[in-house]
């Protein structure tokens, strides 16, 4: 993915509200949400507690640590926001309400 292709925003759903969140290359989706002053849920920030579990409705991410992500979570399209870094130019949509 080139810098030009890198998505500059992603959509985040939390408490029934949709946000357009600015995204900087190298940031996780959680870091981007917190930088945008969104009260996103998280605890350890290390992929271990599962607090930032969310449904990735569209887009693709890579995750370095996925300890709290079960096989069932993966099959249901869940990701850990604290570990998620975009790896495609596809529009990203992260939903904490599902």
């Amino acid at each position: 993915m080139t810098d030009q292709d890198f998505p500059s925003f992603f959509r985040l759903t939390l408490d029934g509200e949709n946000h357009q969140v600015p995204l900087e290359k190298g940031s996780t989706l959680l870091q981007a949400a917190l930088a945008a002053n969104i009260d996103a849920p998280y605890n350890c920030g290390e992929g271990k507690c599962g607090c930032c579990l969310a449904l990735l409705r569209s887009g693709q991410v890579s995750m370095a640590v996925t300890r709290a992500l079960s096989k069932r979570n993966r099959e249901r399209g869940k990701v850990l926001a604290c570990q998620s870094i975009p790896v495609s130019a596809d529009p990203l949509w992260l939903d904490f309400d599902q």
């Binding site: 849920p41 605890n43 300890r67 709290a68 096989k71």
Partner: protein
């Protein structure tokens, strides 16, 4: 000063599996006798937390583990003699063979926990290499005892709109506080020492940081992330408290909890 009382006592023979309620028990420096004496370590587990739990396999909370001789693990033998001795000698733990456990799978099949077929079943179900670990000293995550109040469960239910079953929090002691103002009263006890019943004394050492385990319905293993999200955003990620044992002793349902 009485702060509250013990509503129920729970132990978890196998770390991560369903717990069992006890009429009474014995809290040693290592925790409630029989609590988390078995656990399963994953070959691909994090070196810092190698345990296989319901974080990796949600249905793990549906496995029912029970001691085949449960009464023998409620109190140490000759406890009266130890307590009368007066110098606080630690009672002998029951022998290893007294800790025999049967596990019932979610589909109703029962295994002896030491049966290699049981490990093979779990490895197939979890798609992981697992190793059974036994230790008479409990294999709790952080501290020997955990407490959680019914008022906290009720407040979480009210605030989230969920019906929050206390068992999600996998505490050893569920408590009812006299304090009706603060539903999370146990947080205010961090750093304080308490007596439970006639002899047991504990120190409340820290708040209990929570993970995915509380999102799992103890009867269905279905996940409700909203509960952990709420705990994270409104309670700093914590629910309930951890305790260390200062003086070993018996504990029974209804015991008063007093401030030392």
């Amino acid at each position: 000063m009485k702060l509250g009382s013990i509503e129920s006592i729970w132990r978890y023979p196998v770390k991560g599996m369903r717990g069992e309620e006890l009429p009474h028990g014995y809290a040693s420096f290592a925790g409630l006798m029989g609590d988390r004496v078995y656990g399963l370590v994953a070959g691909d587990g994090d070196p810092g937390f190698p345990w296989h739990t319901a974080r990796e396999q949600e249905e793990f909370v549906l496995y029912k583990a029970r001691f085949t001789a449960p009464d023998n693990l409620l109190l140490p033998d000759d406890l009266d003699a130890y307590e009368e001795d007066g110098i606080g000698v630690k009672p002998l733990e029951p022998a290893d063979e007294v800790h025999a456990v049967q596990v019932e799978t979610p589909t109703g099949k029962s295994y002896d926990i030491q049966d290699p077929e049981f490990l093979a079943h779990l490895e197939r179900a979890s798609e992981r290499r697992l190793k059974l670990i036994f230790s008479q000293k409990g294999q709790q995550d952080c501290r020997p005892l955990s407490l959680f109040s019914l008022s906290a469960a009720a407040q979480l239910s009210a605030d989230t709109g969920l019906s929050v079953d206390k068992r999600r929090f996998r505490a050893n002691f569920y408590v009812e506080w006299e304090n009706q103002e603060d539903p999370y009263f146990e947080f205010s006890l961090v750093g304080k020492n308490l007596q439970i019943g006639d002899r047991l004394q504990i120190a409340i050492v820290e708040r209990d940081p929570r993970c995915k385990m509380i999102t799992l319905d103890p009867d269905t293993a279905e996940e409700t992330p909203k509960l952990l999200q709420y705990v994270s955003r409104k309670l700093g990620g914590d629910a309930g408290v951890f305790a260390a044992v200062l003086r070993e002793g018996r504990v029974k349902k209804g015991d008063p909890i007093t401030l030392l």
